[in-house]
Amino acid sequence: MTANLNLWLIPVLPLAGATINGFLGKKSSRTAVSTVGLFFPGAAFVWAVVVVFRAWDGLPYQEYFAHWIRSGSFTADFAFYLDQLSLVMLLVVTGVGFLIHIYSVGYMWEDPSYYRFFTYLNLFMFFMLTLILGNNYLMMFIGWEGVGLASYLLIGFWITKDSAASAGKKAFIVNRIGDFGFLIGLFLIIEHFGSLDFTKVFAQVQPLVPESSAGLLTTIGILLMVGACGKSAQIPLYVWLPDAMEGPTPVSALIHAATMVTAGVYMVSRSHVIFERAPIALTVVAIIGTLTALFAATIGITQTDIKKVLAYSTVSQLGYMFMACGVGAFSAGIFHLMTHAFFKGLLFLAAGSVIHAVGGEQDMRKMGGLRTYIPWTFLTMGIATLAISGIPPFAGFWSKDEILWNAYQNNWVYWLIGVITAFITSFYMFRLLFMTFFGDYHGAHVDEHGHGTHGHDGHGHGEPHESPWVMLGPLVVLAVLSTMGGLVGIRNGFEHFLDPVFGSGVAEASSEGASRSMEFALMGVSVLFAFLGLVLAYVLYVSKPYLPQKIADALGGFYNAVVNKYYVDEFYAKIFVKPLVDGSTSILWQGIDRKVIDDSINDAADGARRVSDEVRHMQSGNLRSYAGWVAAGAACVIAWMIWLGVGLGAGK
């Protein structure tokens, strides 16, 4: 029996920070706002660490806080749940989250709405931690929708920027489409298991045998995956994430790379008991993940906006995580989730540092040669690039290798696509690195007046300049984590840590000698491909920089399709948005509402009026006369009723 851990403090601390800054921040100094904005998530991190030490032997741990909803026999409470899975998430979210808060002090310092930024950021932490720590699906859903809100607010943070507002709205609505599936899944769970508590639901699912054809668990699994597709930007709902880059860069790092977008992976892993008994649903997860990984990576090759490259890369890496879940290797998915939080958080923060350095410019074609101007940024971003490309011994290598090996054991096609994607990943990441830091600087030397085209991010000094230490510090810490963070996976250490949650699954069987050598062979192949990507990028963007344009010209239409993201946004607009808006306007509103319903009633009323010529003064429009008529009518009714009463009374 573990002593009371007061888990509730962890989400509530940042909420307190958000509340204080939300109400008082506007009139406070930046220093005060930063103090509040850092103290509370920092305290949450500290408390999380304390909890880890105190709870280590007492997992899983449950904590009841208060009633929330009680309706008949259905209950959902404010209650918390901590096991190895939520523990990993807890440390990642509070740890990386806190680092990004620190970075934001430097990055957002000159923004006029500084306090608003920290209010939203702390609010996000509250919801994200609720999502992770809830002991039932409805608590998770609080967090789930709440992080969506925080994302909406932060994408549209620069309120005068139309594109940002549209992106925020798009993110929210596309997520709602996913939530629709999630909700139906929850209804099914309530319907059949009478509860949304993880322990109660899973205890009932546990004895069920895997479904050989599509049944209840399969349906639930697929519906949950619809929700995950929204939040974690998978096909077909990934379209909001690239647009979400309109938000300030720390937001992209925290919400749209390291934490929120991984919520879908967490949710699927949390529901592994259901998925493991629904092989068809698992296959759906694997296919969606694999296709998304490849698809998004190909778009990443052609993007020239530094943040857009990273956005598509995030979509692609999330695809890897779902691939892992889909082949039943949940712990590998969570492993990659963790390392990805390190290196992708770092990539975004470093990109922010680059953007900061060049006065708000995000177009990589206008960068180049920056490594001499901003060496620390270059160094840390280089490490992150090595990590994401799967080059040993950096963090991404271990987790990606784990996923690919598990995928191979399930179906070699997943593995093959995974390796191809790894190659593309390495290529576009080194392309980014080379375009930004190598060659000559192509940017204008922005003066004090001219901000870059993306205005808000910019500062506009002369030469590209290195960021202050408040920003570089978090980069360095994340760089260390991106370097060493994968080592916990040696000898399946990370996996074994999660064994109490997921059971000793697929990977355990693989430690036999023969498959061991197979594992090493496959590892060799993927590392080789990662290096090939690096070399190709070097050739195209450093040694023969005139080549990419030639290749693009040669590819013609196909290249254009990829640059334009396969026209998926345009397709959605044409197939869904426009018909919906036009149809609602012309058919529903102008048609049914105005013509059919209202006109027929007005016609009936007109007809009635024509018949009753004597009472034409009713149309005088004089309200007093209407009131008079009403009073007269009411009097008649009452008189009638009294007469009726008298009559009945007499009848008795």
Partner: protein
């Protein structure tokens, strides 16, 4: 102990006090000189007094009991046999409190916006409050019908005298629609009186349940429909909804707040109390088409809301959508669904009331509700923008806000009744995000497109005092719905009980 005794002694009179306190205020206003400031203050005092009196109800309510409480039942007129019978259960009690909560806010939001005929305005507002409370507290059908019709006159006058450009058209449309529909209910009530000799709801309900009403089986379907049509128009259920947008657009802000916040709930309350209470069998057999209309209302209302160029019409159509959830929940015949329906009623009253006040604040400054007239307001009026967003989020159904609780319960109940109902209804979570966030973006985000708006002032103190209680309530209801559900749950259980018994009889046969 002694104090508790005293309060208990108050219980038989509390409903009378709550119901007629506003009327006393209105009568007082009639004899006062036309000094606008005093009139406003007295209205506020009386509406606040009513609110605090009404808090007696939930505070001393016995949550474990399911029947009517605070009952008073006195013979009033012997022939026809009309009783002054009042009482509330966990359902009507909260609707009373909703009414008394919103009315002082209506007084505040009208503080500056009503300049002409101030005295008449506040008299009408207070009379309306009495009538609304009376609808929810009456347990005698005659009394109920009296209050029901009594709401029409002050509301029609509020629209017709204090409204905007096409006010008379809207007032007449509102009046005619609901008046004509009510006559069907009147006919049904008179039939029941003729066959039972009483207007007493409880007595009639028990007689019907025991099967002692002559000719009831033959007439039941017509009686059900008689009540239902009156309620469906009031809700309004698709396709009876077209009076609503016109009424809202023309109504003064306070009128809209009470219209959407409370008046529409008279319809859904009526369904819950009378259609389910008196005619459980017919309610059951008619449920499929009613739920279908409710679903159409949810989706149709939302889609039409989405394309409205006028902010107030948008909110009006969103009410059609939200009230569709209520009807869906009621006719799902599930504990979850009815609890949810009840919660949506309250939540919608608070958040849509708030939205109408916010729209009114805009109109006060620019004399238009056209969305395209605005844009970029977030940078001019940040407090207003934040308050607006808060209420929008409640309305969109963000968890921990009031909209979510009700919708979630309704949909899970509807899903239990038939999965497709829950699935189609759940698309509402997408639509509400579409129409509200799109509108919000066009009004608040971006650069200021219309230079006139640059001189717009942010919220005044009195406006904050009107809107912020709604915002706070939306949050409290979302975080601690248990405070409301505790009383709702047993009342809903009691409502469903005869239906459950009926079903088990059917199954038994």
């Amino acid at each position: 102990m002694n104090g508790a005794m005293n309060i208990d002694n108050l219980s038989p009179y509390i409903l009378t006090l709550v119901t007629f306190a506003p009327l006393v205020g209105a009568l007082l206003l009639t004899v006062l000189p036309r000094r606008d400031r005093e009139i406003r203050i007295i209205s506020l005092i009386f509406s606040l007094l009513t609110f605090f009196l009404s808090l007696h109800l939930p505070v001393h309510f016995h949550r474990s009991l399911s029947g009517f409480q605070y009952e008073i039942n006195e013979a009033w007129i012997s022939s026809p046999n009309i009783h002054y019978h009042m009482g509330v259960d966990g359902i009507s009690m909260w609707l009373v409190v909703l009414t008394t909560f919103l009315t002082p806010l209506c007084v505040l939001i009208s503080w500056k916006s009503i300049h002409d005929r101030v005295k008449e305005f506040f008299i009408l507002l207070l009379i309306l409050e009495t009538a609304l409370i009376g609808v929810f507290t009456s347990l005698d059908l005659f009394l109920f019908y009296f209050f029901w019709e009594a709401t029409l006159i002050p509301m029609a006058l509020l629209i017709g005298v204090f409204g905007h450009e096409r006010k008379v058209y809207a007032a007449v449309k509102f009046f005619m629609y609901t008046m004509i529909a009510s006559t069907f209910m009147l006919a049904a009530i008179l039939w029941l009186y003729a066959h039972t000799g009483t207007f007493d709801f409880v007595v009639i309900r028990d007689q019907i349940a025991r099967g002692t009403v002559p000719n009831f089986p033959a007439a039941a379907q017509w009686l059900f429909l008689g009540f239902f049509i009156a309620f469906a128009v009031k809700v309004p259920l698709f396709p009876f909804h077209t009076w609503l947008p016109d009424a809202h657009v023309e109504a003064p802000t306070a009128g809209s707040v009470l219209l959407a916040g409370v008046l529409l709930k008279m319809g859904t309350y009526g369904m819950l109390r009378f259609n389910l209470g008196l005619f459980p069998e017919q309610a059951r057999s008619n449920a499929p088409w009613i739920m279908t209309l409710a679903l159409i209302g949810i989706i149709y209302g939302a889609l039409v809301a989405m394309v409205q160029p006028n902010m107030k019409k948008l909110i009006a159509y969103s009410s059609v959508s939200h009230l569709g959830f209520v009807v869906l929940g009621i006719f799902s015949f599930t504990q979850l669904g009815l609890n949810g329906a009840m919660f949506v009623m309250l939540a919608h009253g608070v958040s849509t009331g708030g939205l109408f006040m916010l729209a009114g604040i805009l109109h006060e400054r620019r004399h238009t509700y056209e969305i395209r007239e605005f844009g970029g307001l977030a940078s001019i009026t940040p407090v207003y923008a934040t308050s607006y967003l808060f209420i929008v989020l409640a309305s969109v159904g963000l968890p921990l806000m009031n909209g979510f609780i009700g919708e979630f319960l309704v949909l899970s109940g509807a899903f239990h009744a038939r999965p497709i109902y829950g699935i189609l209804g759940a698309t509402g979570v997408i639509w509400s995000a579409c129409y509200l966030l799109w509108m919000y973006q066009r009004v608040f985000y971006g650069k200021v497109t219309n230079p006139i708006n640059n001189s717009m002032g942010d919220m005044l103190g009195v406006e904050k005092a009107a809107v912020w209680p709604c915002a706070a309530m939306a949050l409290v209801m979302g975080v601690a719905p248990i405070l409301w559900l505790g009383a709702i749950d047993p009342a809903v259980h009691a409502t469903l009980n005869p239906i459950a018994q009926m079903l088990s009889k059917v199954v038994g046969q």
